[in-house]
């Protein structure tokens, strides 16, 4: 990949002026993405107590459906308006980032650990383990995740915890498949067999030699999965099996506000925009990471 070299600042042609070089660098690096992620989502979410003007679950039904500040009837008290129970939209979106991103983080970490472990096992030991694990993956993939989630939600009762379990269950297969593939190709390479000959223990080989080589794949995948999680959570809310109210989860807010599109577009629009921005930026970031870290990786 010839372009990889271009990504490193300063390695461009010497004749290029500084400005041009800066532009090229900026173009390749999803600056906007990072900006959105940090300043629009992560920082407000981390300091929600300080940033949010109101409590996200408190409201007064008589203050309901106030429009955003720039629309007639809006006020700075509720810059993005209020929802149908009079709760402040801005505060809900800020706190919602926390919920949505926490769910994404926990389920991706859980799914990632399980999937990576299984993928390593399947790839490294092969044979029966490989067969069992890959059949498990087949089984999981062949059950539509939404249906599985709904059945689980019916069995466990919809809750924060259920959503995390459901999402983690959906995610692990991709890690397992990708990591297994990577490990298979790594195992065929010299340095692993040399380590084996040198008497390195299996855990050592896995931790010191295999994991560092698949970590890029895992990071890229994890980045791309954030969007998947948020969208799945929204779909679950739409079908009535998501995070229970009054939690300000974005997906729940969009699903809840959709009936009001005709008279209060902001109730579902702003959380929708939050989802859109997050998914877009995480995906662009993931794509960029993949190009930089792991150009071979394509099956995600």
């Amino acid at each position: 990949m010839a372009n990889v070299a271009d990504a490193i600042p300063g390695s461009g042609p010497a004749s290029t002026s500084r400005v041009l070089r800066g532009i090229r660098w900026a173009r390749q690096f999803p600056l906007l993405t990072i900006f959105i992620l940090f300043f629009v989502l992560l920082i407000p979410a981390a300091f929600a107590e300080q940033v949010a003007p109101h409590e996200p679950t408190k409201g007064n039904v008589l203050e309901r459906l106030k429009p955003p500040v720039w629309v007639e009837g809006g006020s700075w008290n509720n810059p993005l308006g209020t929802d149908k129970l009079g709760r402040d939209m801005l505060s809900r979106i800020i706190y919602g980032a926390r919920i949505s991103l926490t769910i994404a983080a926990i389920s991706i970490v859980c799914g990632g650990i399980v999937g990576t472990t299984l993928g390593l096992v399947a790839g490294y030991w092969g044979g029966l383990w490989d067969h069992i694990i890959m059949r498990l993956v087949d089984i999981k993939i062949s059950i539509p995740s939404i249906l599985l989630a709904l059945i689980l939600a019916a069995a466990l009762g919809p809750s924060y915890f259920t959503v995390i379990i459901v999402v983690a269950l959906t995610l692990w297969t991709r890690y397992a498949r990708l990591v297994r593939g990577e490990v298979l190709s790594l195992r065929a390479q010299d340095f692993i067999s040399r380590a084996q000959v040198a008497g390195a223990s299996t855990p050592r080989i896995i931790v010191r030699h295999l994991l560092p080589n698949v970590v890029n794949t895992i990071i890229v995948l994890a980045t791309l999965e954030v969007g998947v999680v948020i969208i799945l959570e929204a779909s679950l809310s739409f079908l009535g099996a998501g995070i229970p109210p009054p939690n300000p989860a974005w997906g729940l807010m969009v699903a809840d506000g959709r009936a009001l599109v005709i008279n209060a577009w902001w109730v579902s629009f702003f959380p929708g925009v939050a989802i859109l921005l997050t998914v877009l930026s995480m995906n662009l970031l993931g794509d960029w990471l993949r190009d930089k870290l792991d150009p071979k990786l394509r099956n995600v």
Binding site: M1, H131, P144, L147, F238, N283, P295
Partner: protein
């Protein structure tokens, strides 16, 4: 080769078997359909008698064996929510709707994703690359029910070009197919893009360029033909995605397909239908992947030997 196919078939059956156990137990844990089916004033005795009549009081493993026995005889059970209807008939009646939706969604996804994938690969790391990615990602960046509702508001309510809902003629198919297809565009586009990049980098493309073949011809004829193989092998996954997506999209567009059936059945705790639908989705998914694998094995002898 025959041995390979037999082994794969065996694996597929094993997977189906395990899947049926999982879905069966999960569905049973999720509640008793009599709690939904029986009228509000049904007494505890009514409940017990009906539970017994449906065989729901038996231990789980007995219920499962009965179910498997029936399935092997081609009897998928009688629906609880749709009185007097066999689940097989219910699914078969809804199948055409889901299939035509998925087929058109596949066309939509391919028509959008392949050219986009080529474009962003050729224009790698330019503004067009980013713009193309964003267009593709938009289908995935909003919840699909939201995309569906927005499409309805734009094309049905505002522009009045297409009907808002229902399954009445080809025009009513367009919006749901688009909403369903767009969701998969990003994935297919990524595949196309990376395989295009690989192909663009290959010796024979460089050779073709050296030979003076026009650039557009190199890209659209030589490269795409080779790059399109990767997304095509992804077909099974896309199909699986459609089946999953159909649950939401069919609800939004009141499209009477298998996805809507699954949701209705699940809400009513109609196990018979739920487990049959999941089994059915599983069969489609596993069969299509099996076909892709076997095709692949024919095309690429290395796979045969490693298995």
């Amino acid at each position: 080769m025959q041995r390979y196919i037999i082994v794969r078939l065996f694996h597929a059956l094993l997977a189906l078997f395990a899947m049926s156990i999982i879905v069966f137990s999960l569905a049973r844990i999720s509640g008793n359909p009599m709690d939904v089916l029986l009228p509000e004033d049904a007494t505890v005795q009514d409940f017990e008698i009906m539970t017994e009549r449906w065989g729901l009081d038996e231990p789980l493993h007995i219920q499962y064996l009965v179910y498997v026995g029936n399935v092997l005889r081609g009897d998928f059970g009688t629906s609880i929510k749709w009185p007097g209807r066999s689940t097989r008939d219910l699914i078969l009646a809804r199948l055409p709707a889901t299939l035509e939706l998925s087929a058109l969604a596949l066309v939509v996804a391919a028509m959008l994703a392949l050219p986009l994938g080529v474009l962003v690969a050729v224009k790698k790391d330019t503004g067009i690359d980013y713009a193309g990615k964003v267009v593709a990602l938009l289908g995935q960046a909003a919840p699909s029910f939201w995309v569906g509702i927005v499409l309805i508001w734009i094309f049905a309510v505002t522009l009045e070009w297409l009907p808002a809902a229902g399954r009445q003629g080809l025009s009513s198919l367009i919006l749901p197919a688009f909403a369903l297809g767009w969701f998969q565009v990003a994935a297919v586009m990524r595949l196309t893009r990376s395989s295009m990049l690989e192909v663009l980098d290959s010796e024979y493309v460089k050779l073709a360029r050296i030979k003076g073949i026009p650039n557009w011809k190199v890209i659209w004829k030589h490269c795409l033909r080779n790059a399109a193989i990767a997304p095509l092998t992804y077909f099974g996954f896309i199909l699986g995605g459609f089946l999953t997506g159909s649950v939401v999209i069919e609800t939004v567009f009141a499209w009477p397909g298998v996805g809507l059936l699954a949701i209705d059945a699940l809400r009513a705790r109609d196990f018979q239908v739920v487990q049959s639908v999941v089994l059915f989705f599983g069969v489609i998914y596993i069969a299509s992947n099996l076909m892709v694998d076997i095709l692949y094995a024919y095309l690429d002898p290395r796979i045969r030997y490693t298995n």
